[in-house]
Symmetry: C2
Subunit: 418 residues, 2 copies
């Protein structure tokens, strides 16, 4: 089944909104063996939308449209659907009721523009909206499927998970060949080094299609295999994974969409370990990542975002003299921060992070992008120096990733040396 | 000038990477009066890429392509360009030198796959890469412009800012009509309420094209006007802005792409105020946002991410008895957190945030999404209760936004009541 995803909205064309919806839809369709051939974005202009519908209709089996279903005048997707399929709008009482109930819950009454969101194309199966007012629609015509979903991400995501994916899976039935992907996540090794270590790729991973995808979090290795069935595909992927781990295993922190924060959280939880953090230059990012996951209160005790020198001295008892002598951005201060937060909090592990994120503050000896990360446990405090680049936000992300990777390595007994 | 943006990469189609590059290019082109008509995404397959080049070439004046320029085998954009324009690859010595210098800086030597990135189409003007190895290319043919840029965001962004935008601006010269946009940023008011307050929109903002864009940060109002020149356009936009501020001004925190964290940072800096934060359920997100901006050390002293009750008791001196009696998620505890962090840090303002982000931990009285945010200054401590939804990450984002908005309102003397 070939699919095309269309996102509608001037806000995407002019760059006010990033098209994260297409990524979500693309990943869910790929998981159920739908081949996403193309993604396009068109503006809130009915002529443009109709032209796009016509262009993609003949080339695909499935079209998923997101956006343009809001209650205000600038949303025209529903009108385009009515014109494209030459159908009528009818009031859907269940949707009307959903909308009224929703407003009631928030102690408000509906207005006409909200109520009119219950008008749906008569040829469509309605997809109810659990988190908002605009319903989705599912249309089958000429052996093809056309799905329209709201642009608000969590409303759309819910409909994809609970309606679109199960429905399409059921239509697809079983097939005689299967394509499956596995993404191996690495951090702390550059793309070209990774590529060379795994070269020649055709010999190291025979029969696989391999892609290398660099980002601030590290390099992802995506492996695609084709097989007769799921079991055989899994078997092939497992062999490739083992091969990669055999060569660059210490840099591998996870698979698929896993985030390092999840991996580290699981390691802490499984080993019954706790952590506390003293972060300066990362400004709360490491704690933020750790607390993005439900259940983090089991292993995360506290963090001090010690931005001012005073906060380092007062709460962490770093000596003012030391800061004067070696600077707040130093191996020594990072080490004291890690040890102090660990001891104050009574956790198993303490992290200390101090650095210069830019754009100002660099020196010849410690240029922008210099970060010291320390990790303390009951045995030892290890401090590592990292040299990132000039971009403040990237430096924060990279330092957070490096810090979490040090926790991973410490727990797994992997050497912290490069 | 009509433009089409093409992003190349299987990782975007299958949803592993969100197409933030197109948003960046779209916003920069829009700023210089280029009309972005469409965005598309195609996979790493040379046939598909060539078909897309052909399709968009005839319909547009400018084509910007991102991605597919990496050193590994899965990157085929350069090959597609050579085939499409029927040109040759030639070695560019300056690019080769850039690549070698880059590797030298990191203490590494280049390999053949890196050096081969200096092979560029002979008909192209090379765009040097300050942050990576793949050069961009700028091609002019048949009165049209074709630009190819690497997919790594900061490498691409730098080339757009410093080469593509100035070059296209120069080509465009001056025109006899101008379209200009202004986005007004609101928070704390639902989309339909905002729309109703500004209705009928044709009378309230005559002659403007208006769009409402909701997100976790609030609702953006985008106004587009057409005028004879820049001055007249600015004048129209200013009048519309004043009209909007006159009706819903207390919800307006900024304009354009401004983030609330920047707005609050500027207010703190301009008034010479300092802030400290005790955040529990937001887990460091508020501090992370505040420290995303250079110069935040001028007004941000420290944050305690007080996840465990012990950390609230030990560092903030919240009484254990109070937590037992009213719960850690309560008006009282939020208030004590704000006042305590302010007093410990000696800052002008203290924020205290405690809540239930989900998916677990809700009760009938305090369901998931219940958050108490307190703000303390030398006069007073004000606590507000918020009720968000079921999504943990959205709840964190909304709470951070609400907290920052309370700081904005406090500084500007806007009532904290709804």
């Amino acid at each position: 089944m070939n699919a095309h995803i269309i996102a509608i909205g001037d806000e995407i064309l002019i760059g006010q909104t990033i098209n994260s919806n297409a990524a979500f839809v693309g990943s869910r369709l790929t998981e159920i063996q739908v081949n996403v051939k193309k993604i396009s974005v068109v503006g809130d202009e009915i002529g443009e939308i109709l032209a796009e519908f016509s262009e993609v209709w003949s080339k695909n089996d499935l079209i998923v449209v997101t956006g343009g279903l809001g209650p205000t005048h600038d949303d025209v997707t529903r009108e385009a659907i009515v014109k494209f399929f030459n159908c009528q709008l009818v009031r859907n009482e269940q949707v009307l009721n959903d909308i009224k109930e929703r407003f009631k819950r928030f102690g408000r009454s509906t207005s006409k523009i909200n109520e009119d969101q219950s008008l749906v194309p008569d040829i469509a199966t309605v997809i109810r909206n659990q988190f908002g007012t605009a319903p989705g629609t599912f249309i089958e015509r000429d052996g093809k499927i056309f799905v329209s979903l709201p642009g608000v991400p969590y409303e759309m995501e819910n409909m994809v998970e609970n309606f679109v994916v199960p429905k399409i899976k059921q239509k697809l039935g079983t097939s005689d060949s299967i394509t499956k992907m596995l993404t191996i996540l690495t951090t702390g090794i550059p793309e070209s080094t990774l590529f060379e270590k795994l070269s020649p790729i055709e010999d190291v991973l025979p029969g696989a299609k391999v892609a290398f995808l660099p980002s601030a979090q590290g390099v992802r290795i995506r492996i695609t295999v084709t097989a007769y069935n799921e079991e055989q595909a899994n078997d092939k992927l497992l062999k490739h994974e083992q091969k990669i781990r055999g060569i660059v295993g210490r840099y591998v922190y996870g698979k698929g969409n896993e985030e390092l924060g999840v991996v580290v959280g699981r390691l802490l939880k499984d080993r019954g370990l706790t952590i506390s953090i003293a972060e300066s230059c990362t400004g709360g990012l490491i704690s933020n990542i750790i607390t993005n996951y439900a259940g983090s209160s089991l292993y995360f005790d506290r963090a001090l975002v010690a931005y001012s020198n005073a906060s380092k001295v007062e709460i962490l008892d770093v000596s003012e003299d030391l800061i004067q002598r070696v600077g707040a951005v130093s191996e020594e201060v990072a080490g004291e921060m890690a040890a102090a937060i660990r001891s104050i909090s009574g956790t198993d592990i303490g992290l200390g992070v101090t650095g210069i994120m830019g754009p100002g503050g660099g020196t010849t000896e410690k240029p922008i992008g210099t970060v010291f990360i320390a990790i303390a446990d009951s045995n030892n405090t290890v401090v590592k120096r990292f040299n990132y680049g000039d971009n403040r936000l990237l430096n924060k992300e990279r330092a957070a990733q490096s810090a979490l990777d040090m926790v991973r390595k410490l727990i797994l007994g992997i050497s912290l040396e490069n």
